[in-house]
């Protein structure tokens, strides 16, 4: 993070020529994400122009990452470069729209890359080919050369955002548990990677059992559970310094399932004592602990609403695991899940509109979403064991753990759109579970 100062400035002045003849346009280029895209939008992403010799290598690779980001959404199809008629030899040359129309490119991304020492600058423009016009202003992102993937993700986020009207999610990271070794003797480590699996690193050494990292709202801290003292306890880890501290160190109790409040000042978690698990909050500033539930049942997996006013959690107070919503201060809880089977691990969407959950029914596990009052339940996946959803920063994609059955079974990360489309495995260096998707990075 330290070396990474990204700059972003609009290059309106570059557009001396306004889009000619907008009359041809039959409406702006647009993908409505919620409508479940059947046909991905064809987009041309030629290699970015290297503005100086030092930029030669990165210019092509940045364009490749942009294309991979956009294609990975399932909403775009990057046109094979072999089909291109036009070449983009200069960033500022006029765009030959007919050549791009001829290969049915609906959108075109052009870019230019400059490298001076460790300094990388990327300019790009997005064009609506059939409107013969740029879509939005040109943008410039700058940073260090070793942050080139982040800069590529920022370009892709801007393209995605302009075409879908939603914020992107590519310049983000995922914390997870890496798992190595045979099923009965797995070594688990805290790990961190870019959302697309690049730049993976380990944050713990595997000596202790660790569970379920959770990002802070700013993406600079993680909560997780570790057994290093012999019982599960929740820890707060600074992602940059790797300094950490134990939270709520009460003799004889176990703490687990922590999550941050949206303002980052409070942690909500489960505390188990005398065999009974209830939900508590801990104010990180004052250290004050507040008990929110007092039931003999298992209350766990709490998650704040994005406005911080409510908490969704699971409880088996009715006899099986179900989802409940209560005020962030505790008090009466309202059951929201009523379908067949058991419901656990609820997570409130960053948009506030949906709750994702794990459902067990008739021997299968599902990831699903429902509205926050429990209505309009939809199951997005089904397998032997799907578990533990986490939301993309824009609330449009969910990542989760899928574990295969049997003695050689292993966990892996998968993602799926909230439409239920575009289910795919997320690349990880080794077997992985318990993903936590960061917010968009600053």
């Amino acid at each position: 993070m330290t070396a990474l100062r990204l700059t972003c400035l609009a290059l309106a002045f570059l557009f001396a020529m306004p889009g000619p003849g907008a009359a041809q346009s039959s409406g702006p280029l647009r993908i409505e994400i919620t409508e479940g895209v059947i046909e991905p939008l064809p987009i041309a992403i030629p290699p970015f122009v290297a503005e100086n010799p030092a930029a030669g290598d990165l210019a092509g690779r940045i364009a490749e990452v942009v294309a991979a980001d956009l294609e990975g959404t399932g909403l775009f199809r990057a046109i094979d470069q072999g089909a291109f008629i036009a070449r983009v030899a200069s960033f500022d040359a006029a765009v030959s729209y007919p050549d791009w129309r001829a290969i049915n490119a609906q959108a075109l991304v052009t870019g230019a890359v400059t490298v001076q020492g460790n300094r990388l600058d990327v300019r790009f423009r997005l064009y609506d080919v059939f409107a013969n016009a740029p879509l939005g202003e040109g943008l410039q992102f700058g940073g260090s050369t070793d942050s080139w993937r982040r800069i590529a993700h920022k370009v892709a986020d801007a393209v995605y955002s302009r075409i879908t009207g939603e914020s992107g999610y590519f310049d983000s990271r995922v914390a997870f548990i890496s798992q190595t070794g045979p099923k009965g003797q797995r070594i688990r480590r805290l790990a961190l990677m870019d959302y697309d699996g690049a730049n993976a690193s380990f944050l713990s050494d595997g000596q202790s059992l660790v569970l379920a990292p959770r990002f802070s709202p700013r993406g600079d801290q993680l909560l997780y559970t570790s057994y290093e003292t012999g019982r599960p306890q929740i820890y707060l880890l600074d992602v940059n310094s790797l300094r950490r501290r134990v939270l709520d160190d009460q003799p004889g109790s176990m703490t687990f399932a922590p999550r941050f409040s949206p303002d980052g000042n409070t942690v909500v978690y489960s505390l188990s004592t005398a065999g009974n698990s209830d939900i508590y909050t801990l104010n990180l500033g004052s250290g004050r602990r507040t008990r929110l539930t007092s039931q003999p049942s298992i209350e766990t997996a709490p998650s704040f609403s994005p406005d911080g006013s409510q908490i969704v959690f699971e409880s088996d107070r009715s006899g099986t695991q179900q989802l409940y919503v209560m005020s962030a201060g505790g008090g009466e809880a309202r059951r929201i899940s009523f379908g067949a089977g058991r419901y656990g691990t609820p997570v409130w969407s960053p948009r506030g509109d949906l709750i994702a959950f794990t459902k067990q029914n008739e021997g299968r596990f599902h990831i699903g979403v429902m509205r926050t009052d429990g209505s309009e339940e939809r199951l997005l996946t089904a397998s032997f064991l799907d578990e533990g959803p986490t939301w993309a920063p824009n609330g449009r994609v969910i990542m989760f753990t899928r574990e295969t059955r049997g003695a050689s079974g292993a966990p892996a990360l998968y993602s799926v759109d909230i439409t239920g489309r575009n289910l795919k495995r997320v690349a990880t260096p080794v077997a992985a579970s318990a993903p936590s998707w960061s917010p968009l990075l600053p």
Binding site: D146, P182, K183, S272, G275, Q360
Partner: protein, 170 residues
Amino acid sequence: MTNLKPMYGAGAVAIALFLGACASTTNDRFDSAGAGGAVGALGSPSDPTSPAYFQQTVGDRVLFVVDQSTLTPEARATLDGQAGWLNSNPEFSVVVEGHADERGTTEYNIGLGARRATAVQEYLFTQGVALNRIETVSYGKERPLEICSDESCYNQNRRAVTVLTAGAGF
């Protein structure tokens, strides 16, 4: 990004190198090998005061029905034996580890394992073992003993294991 080195990076977390100092970190599968700081000398199974006798003859584990923490008659019989042994060997304490099978979510299974461990703790207490000799910990579904994905393994994994530790309680 730039400052996160792969693996044991500079300033890497000084994680739990004191693992062996605490018996309750022991994975029960390794107990008989004496790993992790559980009672080191198991002794001879023919010696009724030995940890080996406790594990093999008395029986160090009880099993549970799906999603339950109620002690079965068979479990209570095993725990009667454990209590008798512990009452005769007051130099030992125990950590009761609660476990669940893999057919549940991580967090819930920790809660369930805690219930199971506590059910054992409470039963041992009613049989005369002082509470300060009985710690509990839940591993949820994270430490399966058997690794197949059918009931023959699941019923072995839904367990509470009583792990001996040296020294009386504090």
